[in-house]
Subunit: 228 residues, 2 copies
């Protein structure tokens, strides 16, 4: 059977690196894309490229796109420390980037149409997550509906599928899946506020990651500012 193509959104973080390994394991030919959107943690792009190399991806593209700001990840707003995954409804932190996943998925949609490909992979997750509205299953499912009337290929009958394989995994399960798929975690970065590729160990992305490794009974091979 001819292998199918898939556009994989790859940030260089732990989640998207594991998603890439899942897409490959499921037999897709991955076309990875990353975005240079003025993010404060731009060094994630170094890790994305590293994963492309380590997971032997043939097709990789970085889109450089202007952004508007409005987030602690793009503007000069302090990253909150020691804010753990919140259970308060609608408590969305300042690290939320307006419509980021909508924009990234729209690019993935256009690029997949360009490639004549019907599969898009994204590493969103609602268990150990920061409360972003554009990570929720209802958003993914509505985006998929919209995508299926937005393009020429959809009008011509080719259905687009948005794959979100991590959606209901906790961080421990994500890490265990990556481990099973031989993802080299040393070359993934989750921190929102790294300095010279050293994780801060205090932002919620770091805390979620560290707890995941702790629960999986594994040691995180990346470097942290403090001894964690």
């Amino acid at each position: 059977m001819k292998k199918e193509k898939a556009v994989v959104l790859l940030s260089g973080g732990l989640d998207s690196s594991v998603v890439l390994s899942i897409a490959i394991k499921n037999g897709f030919i991955p076309y990875c894309i990353s975005f240079d959107y003025g993010q404060r943690h731009k060094s994630e792009l170094f890790y994305a490229k590293k994963q492309v190399f380590l997971q032997k991806v043939k097709y990789y593209k970085v889109f450089k796109i202007d952004f508007f700001g409005g987030s602690a990840l793009t503007d000069n707003i302090e990253i909150p420390n020691n804010r753990y995954s919140s259970n308060i409804p609608n408590d969305i932190p300042v690290t939320y980037v307006p419509a980021r996943n909508t924009i990234f998925l729209s690019y993935a949609l256009g690029y997949s149409e360009y490639l004549q490909c019907s599969n898009i992979f994204i590493g969103v997750n609602i268990i150990d997550y920061s409360g972003y509205p554009d990570c929720r299953p209802e958003f993914i499912s509505m985006f998929e509906k919209m995508a299926n009337i937005a393009t020429k290929q959809s009008v011509l009958g080719q259905k687009i599928k948005i794959h979100a394989p991590l959606l209901k995994m906790n961080k421990k399960e994500i890490i265990e899946t990556g481990e099973k798929n031989n993802v080299d975690f040393k070359y993934t970065m989750s921190c929102y506020n790294p300095k010279n590729k050293i994780n801060c160990g205090e932002c919620d992305a770091c805390l979620l990651r560290l707890n995941g490794f702790f629960e999986a009974n594994m040691k995180d091979p990346t470097k942290y500012k403090k001894n964690v």
Copy 2:
């Protein structure tokens, strides 16, 4: 009453220039955005800026964004001549740009959230149009649904409205509306294939425009390669 803000997608074409005049007439404070996406008819951005000036818009932003191609508007593919608005179902021309309106609207969504604004204006139209799937009412309405679960502001209860005031107007009516609102058509560009700001007079965008002026019994003040 405090005036409401609206993000207006402005390409510098006839339609979006008229949409801007409608947004202003309806009492909105326009925040216009354009995209530099490697379009072959990049000179439309000159006209967008001109309309910003002529219609006294205070807020204007051009997003420079990498694109992937796959269209006669971005790649070295010939623009079809004498192809008039097609009545054949699913006959989508090579000038279609994969997911363009999805990407542009996603940007408008993020920018409107950044501005804490709930209104987006877009100049799509399904009467005298090129058959693009992302101009149809079902696409606009589905995008609006998706937008209303995608963002922090939507989770917090602020509804986003996508205004598409030209949706069911023919080109004659669009031109007459612009005329009533004092849009200076001399500084609008519709052509897909202009040379030194001279319209080709042969692409479907030119043909639709010329026919609109003819039916409105008006003369198009822009310049064409051939005497039309």
